[in-house]
């Protein structure tokens, strides 16, 4: 008969099966005792010599139970039916190892995530649990003893993104004495935080606390800072990534430039600064985004430079005292070897134009939060004066709208986490600097972190007005004379239970946070995954929030979801700590999931040659056979499935294991004692 499952033979293995109650998590739906009894009785012929159930298999007592059974009963295979292998596979492998059994001779099958938590019918769930156990038993018979692969870790780390998360991560690693490449897309590091005026809730000045960190990162002997640069290609795997970085031409020779700023003064071309000034101010075509920029060297913005577009000007070159301007500079591709990568790529602001009835982009005095940050910033375009678009009039009343684009099923369902505190900060600043009446339009006030609610109380006491309700529209269509020439906020005041029209002079939209526009491409580049929203997915949302499912790639800051500064900094440090742990171990162990070619069977048809995105497959011309480089193989198994001759096999997920598991899941193992069936059609 065909198939790996030989229905006439019994398994020579001595298998122990352990069914976990997980408190009531499993036992509440699955009759674990019945599963245990059934396994012991019905799967005896498959080599199950002991089946036990226990309250918490992952507890030390549960693990010891397995260890003892291995030693006393001479188990050669272990199946644990409990939670997802993503949670406790390692736990039970370790237990097996301690008991003296090769850890890969065990299987953890999920009867919690895939059975008790998703099914309600107890009888059906118990039946399914039996099938799942039976699948595990059949599979484990075909398991092979394996050793984890050891991979040496390159000491260097790549940090992508020079905002506060990336700066923090880079400094932590560099301070420990290991090299860091810090790559930033903009001309200066600093990120969004550099644009802010005050930081909630303490109201310390963002620049005052950020600048020293920026300087440290810029001057650290272990940090190679690459601004105006982007990662273009990543290859390799944990411990040994090869990263190609495009260092865009600055047209400024950084060896010669002293950062004196004369070129910026002399440049005749003024450009609206869409990035740093959020469109509220101007910069020159040769510029550093802000005075405290790190590095201090300017860049020439090629599309806006008069010389590049018209062929004449070169004012900067003429006046540069050190001849640092170099119009012939080219982009450079730099390749670096790193062991780990931390992505701290930050966020984009929700585009408030997407809600046209809030008037942003149509009505002059509707501002976004980032615009207001620049407006209130002492180093900003108005030197901190809070004024209307005309540049002079101080508002007498200001409306701040929360949750713009957040908590809204038309845009983003999630809460942007920082808007409440940010809006309260704005209310305080407006009140303090203009004395205007401030209205906050909110759904809920969420001030959960340390000293946040105290700040809310303070703003309340200052006399800021709070209207609970989602704003319907911001309009200039006046209905009454007192509304004329002003912005009217139409809102249902859900506490008062009525519709209100509140005329104000200025509206600030607390636009939410969104993943970077290119978050998906970045994720693809580094081989990690995004949620449907576009935020990066953590290895575990609670227990492993800075790791990803890809070994060696870590994430920190707002690219996993909206965060305030303290959380962002913590994540940067946490990611650094994870990386440092690995560097200091000098090597890591990874799953021995690998493919290999049986060269006697390989006929050199070359079907598989083009299938590996990691270039692990190569063809040996003189012997006309294909070979797989185990170090490059990532274990996806695509070539195993593709080989027409069946010459490629894969460990941990071998054909025999999967086919046997199918038999087990379909309970075909229960037929083992029967005669070969009579082959007559129905």
């Amino acid at each position: 008969m065909t198939g790996p499952f030989d229905s006439a033979s019994k398994s020579p293995e001595r298998i122990g099966v352990y069914v976990c109650h997980c408190g009531t998590n499993i036992a509440g739906v699955v009759d674990v005792a019945e599963v245990r009894d059934w396994t012991e009785k019905r799967l005896k012929g498959r080599g199950v010599i002991i089946a036990r159930d226990y309250k918490f298999m992952c507890s030390s007592l549960g693990q010891e139970m397995i260890e003892k059974d291995i030693q006393k009963l001479g188990l050669t295979r272990v199946v644990v039916a409990a939670c997802s292998p993503h949670l406790h596979e390692q736990t039970f492998r370790n237990a097996c190892q301690r008991g003296g059994l090769n850890p890969y001779l065990s299987e953890l099958v999920s009867i919690r995530e895939q059975v008790s938590w998703v099914h309600t019918d107890k009888h059906a769930a118990t039946d399914k649990a039996k099938a799942v156990v039976s699948g595990g038993v059949e599979r484990v018979i075909k398991n092979e003893p394996l050793e984890p692969l050891r991979v040496p870790i390159n000491e260097a780390t790549l940090v992508v993104g020079g905002g506060i998360a990336g700066i923090q991560a880079a400094l932590e690693i560099a301070d420990a004495g290991f090299p860091v490449y810090l790559v930033e897309r903009e001309p200066s590091i600093g990120g969004h935080m550099a644009q802010f005026d005050k930081t909630f809730p303490t109201l310390d000045c963002a620049a005052c606390i950020l600048t020293p960190r920026m300087v440290s990162a810029g001057t650290h002997r272990h940090i190679t800072l690459m601004t105006w640069s982007e990662v273009e290609n990543v290859s390799g795997y944990v411990g040994n990534f090869t990263v190609t970085i495009r260092k865009r031409a600055r047209y400024v020779n950084t060896e010669l430039c002293t950062g004196c700023g004369i070129c910026q003064e002399k440049c005749p071309k003024k450009v609206i600064d869409q990035i740093y000034e959020a469109g509220m101010g101007y910069r020159k075509a040769v510029y550093t985004p802000f005075p405290q920029a790190v590095p201090r060297y300017p860049v020439i913005d090629k599309p806006n430079c008069t010389y590049f577009s018209k062929g004449t000007c070169k004012a900067c070159e003429k006046f540069c005292p050190t001849n640092a301007i170099d119009f012939n500079q080219q982009d450079e591709l730099i390749t670096v070897q790193v062991g780990n990568i931390i992505l701290a790529t930050g966020y984009d602001l929700f585009n408030a134009r997407r809600i046209p009835h809030y008037g942003y982009g149509r009505l002059a005095n509707v501002y976004t939060n980032l615009e207001f940050e620049r407006l209130s910033n002492a180093a900003g375009p108005t030197n901190g004066e809070i004024v209307l678009r005309d540049g002079k009039t101080k508002p007498k009343s200001v409306g701040i709208i929360h949750c713009v684009g957040s908590r809204d099923r038309n845009y983003n369902n999630y809460c942007s986490a920082i808007c409440c505190m940010q809006s309260l900060k704005f209310a305080h600043l407006v009140h303090e600097r203009t004395g205007a009446t401030v209205y906050n339009f909110y759904i809920d006030i969420r001030t959960t972190a340390k000293a946040y609610d105290e700040f809310y109380q303070r703003v309340l006491e200052e006399g800021t007005l709070f209207v609970r309700g989602r704003v319907a529209e911001v309009t200039d269509a006046a209905r009454k004379p007192e509304e004329e020439g002003r912005l009217i906020i139409q809102v249902e005041d859900t506490l008062a239970g009525k519709q209100r029209r509140i005329p104000v002079d200025m509206v600030i939209l607390s636009a939410g946070l969104e993943p970077r526009k290119d978050a998906k491409e970045t994720a693809k580049l580094f081989g990690i995954s995004c949620s449907a929203d576009g935020w990066y997915i953590e290895k575990h949302p609670k227990l492993d929030p800075v790791a990803t499912m890809t070994e060696g790639i870590f994430i920190a800051g707002c690219n996993t979801g909206p965060k305030d500064i303290p959380n962002t900094v913590s994540q940067g440090a946490a990611a650094a700590a994870r990386v440092l742990g690995r560097i200091q171990q000098k090597e890591i162990f990874i799953e021995p999931v690998r493919a290999s070619v049986n060269q006697d069977k390989c006929s050199g048809c070359r079907i598989c040659n083009n299938l590996c995105p990691f270039n692990a497959i190569s063809f040996i011309e003189d012997r006309k056979v294909t070979e797989i480089n185990a170090a490059l193989c990532q274990g996806c198994g695509t070539c195993v499935a593709a080989c027409p001759a069946g010459a490629i096999s894969g460990t941990v997920f071998s054909n025999e294991q999967v086919l046997s598991q199918i038999d087990g899941l379909l309970m075909l193992n229960l037929e083992y004692m029967k005669e070969a069936p009579e082959l007559v059609a129905v």
Partner: protein
């Protein structure tokens, strides 16, 4: 299965370690309910899916096979899910010639975040396959179809105990 009972199909589902298996975990964590008719197998990637596995499952008594993987462009191994897609499309053509209804073998993309979607797809597929009725390929091969597990009256005979 007794005739008056509703037919309970058995579906073997192949999941990718990086996306759909995690989606199944997520469905569990979020307590999203779906019918117990699907039994999942974890692979490292939908690219690992050998058509043999699908045929084996159908030939051995499964009424349907659900193949899942990362969305196009989101493969953990960069582009292996496209290979799964191509194999699936070719496999479907062969199955059509063998008289296997298209609803019985389905390919669904589910990211690690799409627990609800996966549960929904499973529910839909179970109902579709239920409506089609048993495939009975396994029975045709002289084997029993295991809609329900053997009951007490199907206990092992004595000699089997000895063999065991």
């Amino acid at each position: 299965m007794t005739e008056q009972d509703q037919f309970e199909p058995v579906i073997i589902g192949f999941t990718c370690n990086w996306c759909s298996y995690r989606a199944a975990d997520l469905a569990g964590t979020a307590r999203v309910k779906y019918p117990p008719n699907v039994r999942l197998i974890r692979l490292m990637c939908s690219g690992r899916l050998d058509p043999t596995f699908v045929m084996k499952a159908l030939a051995s008594g499964a009424d349907g096979v659900l193949i899942t993987g990362c969305h196009p462009g989101e493969c953990h191994y960069i582009e292996q899910n496209y290979k799964a897609l191509r194999r699936y499309q070719l496999l479907k053509r062969v199955f059509a010639q063998l008289g296997i209804e298209p609803q019985r073998v389905k390919l669904v993309w589910a990211s690690a975040a799409e627990g609800v979607k996966l549960a929904h797809e499973i529910t839909t597929m179970v109902e579709e396959v239920r409506a089609l009725g048993p495939l009975h390929w396994g029975a045709s091969n002289g084997r029993e179809v295991h809609d329900h597990l053997p009951t007490e009256d199907m206990e092992l005979p004595e000699e089997a105990e000895v063999m065991a």
